[in-house]
Structure formats: C-alpha cells, structure tokens
C-alpha cells in the first residue's frame, strides 16, 4: 500500500472526497483487489475503534452460520429460557422490598387467624390447613415470556387454573422430560399431582425440584411440607417445615406460622 493510496482511503473514510472522487474510488474498489483488501481492513478498524460506530459482520460468513446453528440447539434454547426466568425474578426483587409492608400485613393477618382459631378452639384438620396455605395464585405465569415454544405451557396453565389437573399434567409431564431446567413446570406438575391425590408422584416431582440447581428448588420444600400434611404425615411435614425455617427458604414466615399451629395441636 502506497502513501498516496493510504491518504485516499483515509480521505474517503473521513468523508473528504467529492462526488466524482467517490465514484472513481468505488470503481477502484471493484477493479483493484489489493486496494479493496486494505480498504476493508481499515474500514473495519475505523468502525471497531470509534465510539460512534461499529464494525458489522456479514451474514454470509461460515462462522456466523455455525454459531446460528448452535444457538438453535435445545441446550442453548433452554439457556435462553433460564435467562428469561432469572431476568424476570431479578426484576421483581426490588419490588418485593417496596411491598414489604404488604407482606408484614399478610403475615400479621395469618397470625391473627391462627390466634383466632386457637381462641375459638376450633378444630382445624390438616386438609383445611393445606387449603389455607396452598396458594396457587402466586405461581409463575407462562404468559408473556416472549418465547414461541410456550404456547403449550400457557394451555397447560389454563387447564390447571380451571382445575382440570389431569389435562394440565398431560402437557406438563412430557415437558419435564425434555426441559429439566424449567422450575415452574415442576411446581405446576407437583401441585396438580397432589390435587389428583397422586401423592407418590407428587413427592417424586418435588424431590426432583429440590435436588435441582434451579431457582425454584427452595419452593419444592414448601410444597413437599404441604404434601405430607395433606396425607396426615404431620411429623414428616414438621421436619420439612423446620428445614424451611432454619434455612430461611421460600415462605419461611408462613412455614413458621404453620409449624406453630401444628405444635399447638
């Protein structure tokens, strides 16, 4: 590359050439391969080093095609789902702080209810306790996660909300087998199995969740405690509740309240 050619490229990139010079510059690019190579590299350097530009790659590059194929594979698609989930939870975290007073109020309400129940000396069997504590309205929704593959999950969620638990399981169970990284699917599945009195299956589902490294793993303990309670396995339930309280796992305040109720019985 000569000094003159270098200045010509420099002037083109700085926008210092007039219209005629630009036409002749472009013709030169078509006919002079060495000149074109030097220009393309310099253009890429300019774009990549400037704060106000970026050096874009061409889709025709074979490397790009390889990355595209890898991105379409199931494992990276599953990572994408995990990122969406963690992102959604991360976004909610500060909101939880602002709603602290609401939770205190909720915890206080639970405490008052418990006191009232003791005061009125009402017999409250375990089924009632589970009904009181099993709140499915807070389960994560599959709607609006920005993925096309969640249509089935949205349908399954709909069945679940309409208490058509078997229909929801028909969709959730095959999903669990292929996508082991989806915490909410475990929760829906386990609760649906519990509602259908498939207690052994439900316990297996919650154990899988507990033993996973998913964010929802802690929630598995809470539902497992309720699962034991509904089967009148009070001691087993208390043991799980104690684990939740001592580790400050998900719903540890509720677990403490429930544990106190069970100990008073």
């Amino acid at each position: 590359m000569s000094f003159e050619n270098d200045i010509l490229i420099d002037n083109y990139l700085r926008g210092l050439l007039n219209e005629d010079e630009i036409v002749s510059f472009k013709l030169r690019l078509k006919s002079d391969l060495e000149f074109k190579k030097s220009f393309l590299l310099e253009q890429a350097l300019w774009a990549s080093q400037s704060d106000t530009d970026w050096s874009f790659a061409n889709y025709t590059n074979d490397e790009v095609k390889t990355y595209k194929k890898l991105l379409e594979n199931d494992d990276l698609q599953n990572l994408k789902k995990t990122l969406n989930r963690v992102n959604a939870e991360f976004k909610e975290t500060p909101k939880k702080k602002t709603k602290l007073s609401f939770y205190y109020l909720a915890a206080a309400s639970i405490a008052i209810l418990i006191c009232l129940s003791i005061f009125l000396n009402q017999d409250q069997n375990n089924q009632h306790l589970v009904n009181d504590y099993l709140d499915t309205s807070n389960l994560p929704s599959f709607v609006s996660r920005g993925e096309t593959s969640t249509d089935d999950l949205i349908n399954a969620q709909q069945f679940f909300e309409n208490e058509e638990y078997q229909k929801s399981l028909d969709i959730f169970i095959p999903v669990i087998e292929t996508d082991k990284a989806n915490g909410p699917v475990y929760l829906y599945t386990g609760i649906a199995q519990m509602k259908l009195e498939q207690y052994v299956n439900a316990e297996t589902t919650f154990n899988k969740l507990i033993n996973s490294n998913l964010l929802d793993a802690q929630k598995g303990y809470w539902y497992k405690a309720l699962l034991y309670l509904i089967q009148d396995k009070v001691e087993d339930s208390k043991a799980v509740l104690e684990t939740i309280v001592s580790n400050k796992y998900h719903n540890h305040l509720k677990a403490k309240a429930l544990l106190e109720t069970l100990n008073d019985d």
């Binding site: 590359m1 000094f3 270098d6 200045i7 700085r14 074109k36 190579k37 030097s38 393309l40 590299l41 310099e42 890429a44 350097l45 300019w46 990549s48 080093q49 400037s50 704060d51 106000t52 530009d53 970026w54 050096s55 874009f56 790659a57 061409n58 889709y59 025709t60 590059n61 074979d62 490397e63 790009v64 095609k65 390889t66 990355y67 595209k68 890898l70 991105l71 379409e72 494992d75 990276l76 599953n78 990572l79 994408k80 995990t82 990122l83 969406n84 989930r85 963690v86 992102n87 939870e89 991360f90 976004k91 990284a181 915490g183 490294n213 998913l214 964010l215």
Partner: protein
Amino acid sequence: MKNPGYFLKGLINNNENTVKEIYENSFNQVLGFVSNNRGQYVDAEDIFQKALLQLAVRYKREPFEIKTSFEAYLFTVCKNLWRRELNKSKRVVTNDYIIELKDDNDDIALSVLEQKRWELFAEYFERLSGNCNKIMKLFFKRVSYSEIVKIFDYNSETVARQRVFKCKAKLKELIISDERFKDLLEL
C-alpha cells in the same frame, strides 16, 4: 473473585444459580451504562441476555480464556453490544447487501464474530510500540491531523501523516498475518 471459567461453564451447563449470580454481580453496572447512553431498562435486559448467549455459544463452539475478571469482560461485551445496537440504523443506510434478520439468533451469531474481531484488533493495538499505540488510538478515534501534530509536538501535518502511515502499515501487516483473521473478515 471466581475464575471466569466457572461462569462460562455454568452458562453452557444451564446452571440457574450461576445465571442468578451473574445477574447479581453485573446487571446493575450494565443498566447504568445503557441508561447513561440513551437506553432504557428493557434495552439493558436485552443486551445483558444477548451478551450471555454470545459468551455461551462462543464457549460451546470452542472454549476460550478470559484474561480479566468475568465481570469486566462481560461489561466490555455489553458495551460493544450496545454500541452495535445504537449503530444498527447506520448499517441499513451504508450497506448495499442488507439481509433481513429473522430473529435474535442471527444477531447473536453475528455479534460473536464481531466481538472476536474487536478483541483481535485490541490485541494488536497493544502489541504496537508505545508511540504507535497512542497515535493509532487517536487516529482511529478520528482525531484530526492538526490535533495529532499538537499532541505529539510534530513539526507539520506531513510528519504526522507519515507517522500514521508507518504505524498503520505495521498494524495491518500484523493483523493480516494472523491466521485467526482469515475467518473474521472477508477480504
């Protein structure tokens, strides 16, 4: 400080706890950068996810080493992705052969190559001598020759141009002779 490999492996193994850790360590820093550079919260979310997918797909194709902390590296990738995003419209105007991008995967696949190219350039900038390194950084940041003359106390613009020419020729020679470069830019 955890080894960068811990985070990269966590990503390709789809470890939700590792992803959470990355969010806790780095998201707010990226949000701050994007917010200060004409972006919104949703832009930061998008960039952050694309950056993590970019790292994952790259590591999956061929494990690579991060020489800084994982957080510093991720922040650089996010900054470049945001720069890419801000300049997308310019690309539509200047390229003769725009291919309509179908989904995020196209964008991420392209960005891997672009990031690798950016890193290769950065590596060779650092290999230049001290004076050449400084002059090249100013040149590619589009600082005028008259300012370069003042900064380096050269006698004239001609001297500055000759110095730029020599340093640039050296830089280009180093880059072109690197085997990795052949896959990164079609010449």
